[in-house]
Symmetry: C2
Subunit: 322 residues, 2 copies
């Protein structure tokens, strides 16, 4: 039973990471997108890291997975009454992480250390690793200008047509020692790209200096799981972005985002008919149930992904022997 | 109907200020202690200003007057779970003011302007004026060292013996233009020192450079209301401090703190027997009900104080004529 490294963000990513966590425990390291982080009222909000922590700690709300269960909004109600900014509501429980993070950052602590402390406090034994200790800020290039995901989602209601993306700071961002260590685990078994938005969740991770090269250099199977099923996004705005960028809205378009990076691609059973087409594009492909409604669904998908990785590893070994 | 200027802090001070507000409306200016302000996790907490704002806005909790009604503590519960500081609980609603204030201070806005914005948002027509835009930090000198009121109250549970006070920064703190304007109101009728702790609530206000001189120079009656009744504090730790400082625990000791500043002193009816003794110390004295259980009690005490001021003003005029 080896170490799994997952790349993730958003709720879908957190759910699959949780599946790995439940079968691998401390033998899981999750590299989490921080490109959608933003500052508000002196708070440092790291949506994907927060979602991951709530999910792995088992305290995420079952329906609104980006916030703790039974979240309340007394703070935000009073903030609006006082004329504060009208943005994504900040919950009372959620505030704790954002305030502690902001204060720690002002004391020049590294995001990796801050997140590790949160893991300890929440009894999470997996490693949750921000993709870099350096700031990367994903800009969504839209007809309304370059905006953050928070602005795009909250202020602009995902309305402007998306023309492209810019990962500000990525060319300066360094890999953390902890990420390098996780990927150099002697028992590294698989690298998994979770079902997250390929443009503003996974791509920023891959843009960190040296990340792609390090992932490829390890020689273990790299598997991606589609966030797109039947031409519509499981969650979020991925399908809309795909359409506006001029891509076919399909799992295959997601696979092509990871061309020359991944060894295998998991599509949903609903899209089983596309298996051969995607395989023809140069990927090893399996179809599996990718909707994760229950904890058991998360575990089942995690097992499927690891079995797929093992099959690819064995095939590669066999090919090397011949 | 002229302008009233009140000096205040804590719950007792806020209640009497509310009495004036309900009969004078916008013709009230309250100068509020900021010597007990403190910073925590990047928040700027100004307990006396917050209490005053909640009280005048009519949203203070009836029993826990320093916080908004029906306050919740989801933030603080999560903060403790994450290993945050174990201090005075910060409520979810209360957080809004503290976070907005901190952010505004980082943007170099003046406390006076920040507080005015809160007043507008909360439909408070009276002027709530922080005692200075410069930081004053009251140090309670105890057997356990020099501590802030927050440390004394929250961390040390008011236990260490109090030896004295130091008002750090007071000798550099300037009067704001708004305070000068309020005291130069052509219709200024009375200056009232509310029933607040004389050592760490009223004294810091008086220590701001030029404050005492300005108050005396206006020629209107200055009236103080006792926070001490029957040898025990109505609220807070005033009686304990008084004892440890070697003073008699009595309304008279409070009056002596304001020697050469005030013209009249209001004691509680319970201490009526002390009227002559305090008068003999050089003060004009009346006894009145000073417990403010209801809104009507606040209004009644406010009227009593203003009638007392008017009587003193007339007597002074008569003396000047003879």
């Amino acid at each position: 039973m080896g170490t799994v490294v997952a790349l993730a963000g958003q709720i879908g990513g957190a759910k699959l990471a949780d599946g790995f966590y439940r079968i691998r425990g401390e033998h899981l390291a999750v590299i989490v997108n921080t490109g959608d982080d933003y500052e508000l009222l002196g708070l440092s909000i790291s949506p994907d890291v927060d979602t991951m922590l709530y999910t792995l700690a088992g305290i995420a709300d079952p329906r609104r997975g980006w916030e703790p269960v039974e979240e309340t909004f007394s703070f935000y109600d009073m903030l609006k009454r006082l004329g504060g900014p009208d943005r994504s509501p900040i919950g009372d429980r959620g505030m704790a992480m954002q305030l502690m993070r902001a204060e720690a950052l002002r004391s020049e602590r590294r995001p990796t250390d801050i997140t590790r402390d949160f893991c300890h406090a929440l009894n999470i034994t997996a490693r949750v690793l921000p993709m870099s200790n350096d700031a990367v800020r994903t800009q969504i290039l839209t007809e309304a200008g370059a905006v953050s995901y928070e602005e795009y989602f909250s202020d602009l209601q995902c309305e402007p047509v998306v023309k492209g993306f810019f990962y500000a700071g990525a060319d300066q961002a360094q890999l953390s020692e902890e990420i390098v260590n996780a990927l150099y685990a002697p028992d590294l078994e698989a690298i998994v790209i979770c079902p997250s938005n390929p443009y503003h969740t996974i791509r920023p991770i891959l843009e960190v200096q040296g990340m792609r090269e390090l992932l490829r250099s390890r020689g273990v199977p790299i598997i991606a799981v589609t966030p797109i099923v039947g031409g519509s996004a499981l969650k979020g705005s991925a399908a809309k972005m795909m359409r506006e960028l001029g891509h076919e809205v399909s799992a295959r378009s997601v696979a092509l985002e990871y061309y020359k990076l991944i060894d295998g691609f998991v599509i949903d059973v609903e899209d089983q008919a596309d298996t051969d087409g995607i395989r023809a594009s140069g990927f090893d492909v399996i179809a599996a149930p990718t909707f994760m409604r229950t904890i058991d669904d998360r575990i089942a998908l995690a097992r499927t992904v690891l079995d797929f990785a093992e099959a690819i590893r064995k095939r590669k070994l066999a090919e090397a022997d011949t």
